[in-house]
């Protein structure tokens, strides 16, 4: 049981890392970004490219992935998303189109064969934790999840940009009256969320092999976390821990697939009774 | 529980509702008599719309009860309350913008609400006659094929009144139906309402005392979510407390 709990934390950290960028994009800008998984995939490829072509050490690749994917996100927001803010269903569809294009573009650029990211030697060992042997890299992901939460919290509550974002999400007109350019704020929020997905990609590229289609599995999972959490950062964190632990425990009792199925069913039932999610971010949802 | 219902068509007792600690409706009770037009007045934020919300099922009260013709309707769903003969017009006009005016009126003709039965029905019997009559009443006959989203503000108000008429409820809840209307349009509304109140029970929310004067049988003054005064318009206008509350805020405008 203790094994399952510790493993659950590891799963939860992966869920959270995958969902954190989406939480920001959805929670503040209200955008249903179906290309989120592909942003993760791009983060992995960015890491791979930096490492292979420029010989950058892994730890430097992570911020690079953030910047590169963030920049891509910014461009996509400027070219497409910003015209669709008042049409949520169409945003969903258009971003799905974006994901198709990104997968295919990556395939044409890098080929469909798997790529591998090298991690620093000390992360490839195993660590004993409460009787469980856990890959050191999984511990690193747990720490990274905590660091990302701290980063997001800092950006949103301690920086000028964060104040603007919160002003715009709470009252657009009022924010405009104070001279805040809400369009610009949305663009940067989207880019920030995309960048975080890039970081997730840099991490997941090590856990799994890097493939053009590696992102598709993440988007549904990440959305369930965000919807269950209600679109708030804390909501996503709690939802990640809850589903991560459940996944681990159910998987121990049944198997991985049924655990997943059971959790999805439980989320449907949960949303039946609490459609606004755990912690409602308010505003963006009627 | 409904033994003392005689004469009361709609009966509200000890209604309370708060939004996150803000007590909006505070021990409010009201009796509405059949075939009367009862005006609900009060300063902004007094809780008039919330009262309408509670009657029509949009909000559930924290405590208290509402009876319609002796039946307890507290806490029922919106559609169940509507089926019992409660029609409602929203303060911010709510019409179906993507549908034509005709379709708006057709869908409001809701004698048959069963989804299964409506599947096998291309037209509702009696709808066309009623539609022609209502369209004439609200002066939209020439606009039937226009998309509702393209109507002017006054026309939109009319359309929503028309929808409530198509629904043919026993009691009409009208939340500021003449807001934004021109003088002429208001005159017409007065005509319709005076005709309508001979056959229907109406609760109407309004600020404008001149308008209230032309239509009201009874005036109820709501203040901070509680009943402040009730009676004929003359009584209300003489009432010192009402003056204090009402004139105080009227002046502020």
């Amino acid at each position: 049981m203790a094994n399952a709990l510790i493993l659950g934390i590891s799963i939860a950290s992966i869920f959270l890392v995958a969902a954190i960028g989406l939480t920001i994009i959805y929670g503040t800008a209200g955008v249903i970004n179906m290309a989120h998984g592909e942003f993760i995939m791009l983060g992995a490829y960015a890491t791979y490219a930096m490492q292979t072509y420029f010989g950058l050490p892994y730890f430097l690749c992570i911020p690079c992935a953030f910047v590169i994917v963030g920049a891509i996100g910014f461009v996509i927001e400027k070219l497409l998303i910003q015209y669709l803010y008042h049409r949520p269903l169409d945003t969903l569809l258009a971003t799905w189109g974006v994901s198709l294009v990104l997968i295919q573009g990556t395939r044409l650029t890098f080929g469909s064969d798997p790529k591998y990211i090298q991690m620093p030697g000390f992360l490839s060992s195993n660590i004993e934790l409460g009787g469980v042997s856990l890959a050191a890299f999984r511990i690193f992901v747990i720490l990274a999840a905590l660091a990302l939460i701290a980063l997001v919290w800092f950006v949103f509550y301690k920086t000028d940009f964060g104040i603007k974002v919160r002003a715009v999400t709470q009252n657009r007109e009022m924010a405009a009256a104070f001279g805040i350019n809400s369009k610009q704020v949305y663009s940067f929020t989207f880019a920030f969320g995309a960048g975080l997905a890039g970081v997730a990609g840099a991490l997941f590229g090590v856990l799994n092999i890097v493939l053009p289609t590696m992102g598709t599995g993440y988007v549904v999972q990440a959305f369930l976390i965000v919807v269950t959490g209600g679109g708030a950062l804390m909501g996503s964190a709690i939802a990640s821990i809850a589903t991560g632990e459940m996944q681990s425990i159910f998987a121990m009792l049944l198997n991985d697939s049924f655990a997943r199925f059971l959790i999805f069913i439980l989320i449907v039932v949960f949303l039946r009774f609490r459609p606004q999610g755990l912690i409602s971010a308010g505003g963006s949802r009627r | 529980m409904s033994g003392d219902m005689i004469g009361g068509f709609l009966k509200i007792r000890n209604l309370r509702k708060s939004f996150g600690g803000n007590q909006v409706i505070n021990d409010f009770s009201l009796d509405v008599t059949e075939r009367r037009l009862q005006c609900l007045v009060g300063p902004n934020g007094a809780g008039k719309t919330t009262t309408i919300d509670l009657i029509s099922g949009r909000q559930k009260p924290d405590s208290g009860h509402i009876w319609l013709r002796g039946d307890d309707i507290t806490g029922l769903g919106e559609h169940e309350i509507a089926r019992r003969g409660v029609g409602r017009k929203f303060q911010i006009p709510a019409v179906l913008k993507g549908l034509s005016v005709r379709e708006n009126l057709e869908v409001a003709f809701s004698r048959e609400t069963s989804a299964l039965r409506n599947m096998f029905r291309l037209r509702a019997p009696g709808c066309d006659e009623k539609l022609a009559e209502v369209a004439r009443t609200v002066r939209l006959t020439g606009r039937l094929d226009t998309e509702a989203g393209l109507l002017s503000h006054g026309e939109t108000q009319w359309l929503e009144i028309g929808m409530v008429l198509m629904q043919d409820p026993e009691i009409l809840l009208l939340d500021e139906p003449v807001a934004g209307m021109t003088e002429n349009e208001i005159e017409l509304t007065v005509e319709i309402l005076n005709r309508l109140k001979k056959t229907h029970t109406i609760i109407l929310v309004e600020h404008d005392m001149n308008f209230v004067r032309k239509i009201a049988d009874i005036v109820t003054v709501l203040h901070m979510g509680a009943l402040l005064a009730q009676g004929s318009l003359e009584d209300i206008e003489k009432d010192e407390r009402v003056r204090a509350v009402y004139l105080g805020t009227e002046d502020a405008h």
Partner: protein
């Protein structure tokens, strides 16, 4: 303003009749059984697009998991066909390979062809009724509903893969012979199969069209606009939403069942997210608001895809992705929206000319 012929109900029915006449005479023009089979498959895709459009176009309910019903329908039909080829008392070979000794209980009804086909259609419909009911009563709608359908879809895919002994996992089920109904075998490569799919498509499309024009359809279109307002008119919105969703599920199940008949094969690929989204793409490019155009969208996209061929598949998906983005961004009505626009222009052009000739209709008569 003059009438846009696009909105003329008589003309609409005529257009439906014309299109169906065209696709109906195809078997009279060709003997190529492979082509007929391929075209029949497009018919199945067309039906799937119609089912999406019924729900999304009229009710605004975007369903990204239509593969749930399609896949369940296909599995039900494949199981029926499998059991038809099975001698009494035996079990399908893949089960034996997976160390099963007796037929699992939920396979038993498929011994009976009628019952099997009924299950192929009713199980998905029931699934939609329950899932839709849960969601719509909780007033989950719009993008959230879309995402939940996606979640259920991927959960179902995992389960079908995991239930290897009962479903043959990723390999799926490939019944050795075609479907036999009332003693006659339906050869998937024949005009019979084509007619069968054609009849199904015809019945479903016209039923759906009638449904959108019924009082039910009117309420559904109204709740797309503003569900809140519709409740206050006395309609139980959740019931309407659940029913239109379940009906679209029934159609998708029928499409899935026909698919299994045509291909004699079913696998968890039918539950893949990509496949369900393709169906949405067909409907979106054709025009979500029109059943007929959604169907034509499926024909066009799938036709172009097989025309592009496997060699260009990568480029094709890129093109598809871009066109999808462009359609959503600039032409939300799809081809149907374009047709509406052009016909409207044409009508006002003609009207304008008539006015020049001094035949302008009287003010009151103009609508």
């Amino acid at each position: 303003m003059l009438d846009n012929p696009y909105h003329n109900k008589t003309l609409q029915w005529l257009a439906y009749a014309a299109v169906f006449l065209l696709i109906g005479i195809v078997p009279l023009l060709t003997d190529d059984d492979f082509l007929l089979n391929q075209l029949a498959t497009y018919g199945v895709y067309g039906l799937l697009a119609v089912s999406i459009s019924l729900c999304w176009g009229s009710g605004g309910i975007l369903n990204l998991g239509q593969g749930i019903a399609f896949g369940l329908g296909a599995y039900g039909m494949a199981m029926t066909m499998q059991m038809q080829s099975q001698a009494p008392g035996t079990i399908p070979p893949f089960m034996a390979n997976n160390a099963l000794e007796t037929l699992p209980i939920f396979w038993e009804p498929f011994w009976n062809t009628g019952l099997g086909i009924a299950l192929a259609l009713l199980v998905p419909t029931l699934f939609y009724l329950i899932f839709g009911g849960l969601m719509f009563v909780a007033r989950v709608s719009g993008p959230f509903f879309a995402i939940m359908t996606l979640a259920i879809l991927s959960a179902l895919a995992t389960v079908f893969v995991a239930l290897q002994p009962y479903t043959n996992g990723v390999n799926g089920i490939s019944p050795p012979t075609g479907l036999v109904i009332a003693g006659t075998k339906i050869d998937p490569y024949s005009s019979t199969a084509y007619w069968l799919v054609f009849a199904l498509l015809l019945i479903c499309t016209f039923t759906a069209k009638l449904l959108t024009q019924s009082r039910f359809g009117l309420v559904v279109r109204a709740l797309k606009d503003d569900p809140e307002r519709v409740r206050f008119l006395g309609y139980n919105v959740a019931v309407y939403e659940t029913l239109v969703y379940a009906l679209s599920g029934l159609m998708a199940a029928a499409a899935g069942a026909s698919f299994a008949v045509l291909t004699q094969y079913v696998s968890p690929a039918q539950f893949e997210v990509g496949f369900s989204i393709s169906a949405v793409i067909w409907a979106a490019i054709g025009g979500r608001g029109s059943l007929l155009w959604a169907m034509l969208g499926a024909f066009t996209v799938q036709g172009a895809q097989s025309y592009a061929g496997d060699a260009f598949l990568n480029t094709w998906i890129l093109i598809l992705g871009f066109s999808f983005i462009l359609v959503v961004r600039f032409l939300p009505g799809g081809f149907a929206g374009l047709a509406e626009l052009l016909l409207g222009r044409l009508a006002s052009l003609r009207g304008g000319r008539r006015e020049e000739f001094g035949q302008a209709p009287a003010k009151g008569a103009a609508k």
